[in-house]
Subunit: 467 residues, 3 copies
């Protein structure tokens, strides 16, 4: 390639399909690295077969549930159980409702993922609809009894090199200890997510914190003791494979207070006397404390900021959290992360991976910040934005300023096991699409694009998470 191609940046004469294919060929076979997600560790520890199509595809998938609800179907009709009750609708009935309304998913990533899983795991080529609902249900349910669709076999088949689950600080990690005893804790890892003891807005916060003290043997009524409890618990998680922590927060706020102010906040938190502002300040300070511990123990810190949780009080009361009523809000990272980055932004062994649900911060805030601070990486498109268009907007807006080496590769972040290969497939295809266009516009050489494709598909995630 001449350095200055006469057609650079112009719309290419030939479509970049062959370039995309050729880039994809080289990365399609790379192992999957899944460093953040919400798989149930029991699946892998017990390795029992899944039982039926509805409990695999419908009831655990909040993307699917919310879309059906938006068209007026009740969660009860979709096979969900009210809190403390049993489902009132049989799985097959819920499945038929889902199948009859499968056209609602036209144009959505859920459709891509489900179609992928149908084909990939069950060899189903037909489009789900009311007419074939029962037949497909039967096919899936029958195949689920086979050994090659047990959870660990699915990991093998999907070529998953490593996968991380996410557990709260008080979780005893029973399944991970079981996995460890089987020598599987380098492949199936936990992640330390201490929201239960870092955010006083958590309803069980005081009890959680006291229990945290018991579990770790530290005096959590004293600020330094409480931090020591985290250090101990992080070591326990690392012992079970964790290389990272994760923090789910409504905003990215951090703080850097003097010890007496921190103790005052802790006292208030334990007495339950903090107002909303005090609670927010406690949480903000805890983020900086987590960074300090990470700089010390080398765990990678993840920040998932900007979800406004449980916006439907009725759903929360009847069915509980994580069922589709969490909605993004506007984000701000420059001022919010200033206290943390001023202290640890250039710390040698510290790494912070930030996720946003507000795409307006990609080009304005996160890409410029990640393109400066050594410790900061941008996580992949999260949640609603983990989709073909979402990935296109992300790459469009972050790469020019952050480059590829300030990105953390891909996370599937899913609760739906069979969506893992599907989601990585979409990500890899989109990476190849983006790079093929860069090459076709003479903005990047093909060798550079090959290197970037491998990095984004595999190397970046391994490096980002110290795997």
């Amino acid at each position: 390639m001449p350095r200055l191609h006469p057609d650079r940046l112009f719309p290419p004469q030939d479509p970049s399909l062959s370039l995309a294919r050729s880039l994809h060929e080289e990365i399609a076979g790379l192992p999957i690295v899944s460093p953040h997600g919400h798989s149930d560790p029991e699946w892998f520890a017990e390795n029992r077969n899944f039982t039926d199509a509805t409990s695999l595809f419908l009831t655990p998938d909040h993307y699917v549930l919310r879309m059906l609800r938006s068209q007026g179907f009740s969660y009860e009709a979709l096979g969900l159980a009210r809190k403390g009750q049993q489902p009132t609708v049989p799985g097959i009935a819920a499945w038929k409702l889902f199948a009859a309304n499968y056209h609602l998913f036209a144009g959505t990533p859920s459709r891509l993922w489900i179609d992928h899983a149908f084909h990939w795991a069950f060899g189903i080529e037909d489009e789900l609809n009311a007419a074939n609902a029962e037949a497909i249900y039967a096919t899936i349910t029958r195949r689920l009894g086979d050994d090659d669709l047990k959870p660990l076999a699915i990991l093998d088949r999907a070529n998953v090199e490593v996968i991380a689950t996410t557990e709260f600080a008080l979780d005893p990690l029973l399944h991970h200890r079981n996995l460890k005893s089987k020598g599987l804790n380098q492949r199936i890892r936990t992640t330390y997510r201490p929201d239960d003891v870092t955010d006083p807005e958590n309803p069980g916060f005081i009890a959680n914190l006291l229990r945290f003290g018991e579990v770790t043997g530290e005096d959590v009524t004293n600020w330094n003791g409480m931090i020591a409890a985290h250090a101990a618990r992080r070591a326990f998680f690392r012992d079970n494979g964790a290389t990272a922590t994760d923090h789910g927060v409504p905003d990215a706020l951090t703080d850097d207070l003097a010890l007496h102010e921190k103790q005052r906040l802790l006292d208030g938190a334990l007495k339950g006397t903090l107002d909303a502002n005090g609670k927010r300040q406690f949480r903000a300070q805890m983020m900086t404390e987590m960074a300090a511990l990470s700089a010390d123990d080398g765990m990678v810190m993840q920040l998932h900021a900007g979800s406004n949780r449980n916006t439907d009080p009725q759903l929360m009361a009847e069915y509980g959290p994580n069922l589709g009523a969490d909605i993004p809000t506007r984000g701000e990272f420059v001022h919010a992360l200033q206290p943390l980055l001023s202290r640890f932004g250039a710390a040698k062994s510290f790494r912070l991976i930030v996720f946003t649900l507000d795409e307006t911060v990609y080009a304005r805030e996160l890409a410029p910040m990640a393109g400066y601070w050594p410790s900061l990486l941008i996580g992949p498109p999260w949640w609603f934005h983990d989709s073909p268009q979402g990935i296109r907007r992300y790459l469009d807006q972050v790469v020019e300023t952050a480059g590829f080496h300030n990105l953390a590769g891909f996370n599937d972040d899913t609760r739906a096991l069979l969506s893992i290969p599907a989601r990585h497939d979409v990500w890899r295809r989109e990476i190849c699409r983006f790079l093929s266009q860069m090459v076709a516009e003479h903005r990047m050489s093909l060798p550079s694009a090959r290197e970037a494709a491998r990095h984004m598909a595999y190397g970046a995630a391994k490096a980002a998470y110290n795997l």
Copy 2:
């Protein structure tokens, strides 16, 4: 189509032109449904010929006026009359100024709409310019005398199945009553827009509210009486064809107060003692009241939020409102709509259609919200965003999360009658473009795309507005 095409998501080898054409062929002939706009009902009730090119294309089109003003031409020179005065510049002189500067509209949707109307209604193929200004003026003005360009004939020719105008709460609906007497009130409908009596920031608010009491015979000094007045007036509007209400508000704020607080706000509003915050709270509460009435009487509620009206005090003083000085502001819907949605978000007979001028809320707020709440639909791109690029950004950002069935189809929202077929034409072409690309990338089957095209061009609007 195999479920997993090997080239899915890659840039297609062949351009999707033939797919776009084929999708468009099927929907191009569908009737136009125009459920929200600002046509003058007198046009249809009186069905008089329009008189000349200037008063048809120039003086009523704030998109055109503002662009010419931005280049330094005065509204006087463009043929507008100062308040209470007559125009000082003859129509033909204003037209020549417009024609000589028609190049300013290169790249704008105004240009697309005007070119469309020139061709569609007058058979004009030439590009307007200084040289042909008089000839084109004469051609238009002459043709406007023909019977097939009377307002009702234009609706026929454009295949308009139904069109809604917008009237304030105190409007006597003379023209709609006339239309009703002619059996036309199912085709030409009104819309209940009670901003004049719901927003205390309205300069005539107190007088309006007292008049509202007289007109309805209700005691509007009492909160429940004031709500009963709305119920009565809504019935009167429904009797004249209305199926929907519309609310033009600076932001999407809603509230849910106790009766004594509501009465206190009403007392203050009538005494003129509310401060800015109290006025805002009154307006916010009124939105929830409108939702309650809609849940009861089945009228579809539209919210047009985010225009900062009349930003040029001099223009407002000299010429009045709606002439180009309204500018969008940043929007927020998650917290703002929480009080209303917590009460009515899942109400069976309630439907809320939200419009925004802040595109950043498409993917972050509106699509996730509409993909959850049964009552919520997203309106089409509004105002400055009703354009080819605006529609592309909209589809890019809403479809993946909201699907097609949480969208309200298209509104032309225009004051310019001849732009109605032009605007629907752009929308339909953009829908076909978007879908052709989904098909070409193997993300959607052609039958699904056909179904989505018909839905977005016709069915969605009819369903959304109960037409």
Copy 3:
């Protein structure tokens, strides 16, 4: 072209490459107009050869420095000197570090610019890497001794018709006076940037303002005297070629206070007693004063709003400003500019060019505002957004509402002399790309596109800056 092409807005059958080439052919040879930037006037006044590759490409380019730092390389290792010290690392060592990490710039505009300069000025075709680092360093350093790479020869070779530098209000303009004595001050112009005496947040503000009084002979303790000092200093800058002023501000805030309030702010500013809010109000009022002076003396006012400067306190302490730690923040222009535009938005001889780092305001605020106010133009994509994708997002979002004639053409805004032709090259290619697609979609005639291309490449900047 028929007015209504049957395929309008559809994806074109043939790629628009030949259209893009043909548009580009006509504008590629147009002179460069560079009305805003940060070249060092000493380069042109002294016209000395540059000395070596590192001090030309690496140490002055904060885009390059920040990316290398983001990967953990220290500014010391990159050849920078700590404040008041000499560099500790030789230029060639820093260069080798840069070369060995050149792959980090894949996909970034820095890469495009540097590759362009390598080819354009040095005939280098090879991709920089560890292996060829020393050879390329030697090639560049050797060639830099030639007469045709002296600063003025570079301007000739790049066909730069006019270039403006930027100086603070207290700058004695020694180099510009030298240039004037050589008859070069119409080609190399200064720009009046009085941030040093308009923003009390500036650390040296009080001393600066007192010095400003001495320099101009005005009583700057009196508001009107302080304004008169500006009027005098602006005349001095105009005498040295300035046609414009520039204002670097954290936000776009303007104000319009009564004289006694202004005097009170000035008194507080000089005594150092203003709080943050008072300082902001002072700065906001000064923007309106600058507009008033511009309306009077005809200097074009530029507003660069939204950079959060010096977010890394350690970098600031050790190395100083403008080294990569400035990060954009969210912007707001509608309310912020209201006081200024209400007074001068339609003033005949006033022109305001606004730049933003927050792309969300393009379609929502700036395009609608520029499409209305006669005085307002939108500046080109700034800083991180001066890139192929950044330019695409800009054109996508501003053209439909503002048209081409409310845009200010291109600024390179660079401190890196050899990036000037590279940056204008990218801009022109992107303009041709955008227009070729408008033509291919039958949204614009080819003659209109040709006219728009010339305007955006050359005419717009000359007109906007009165050059």
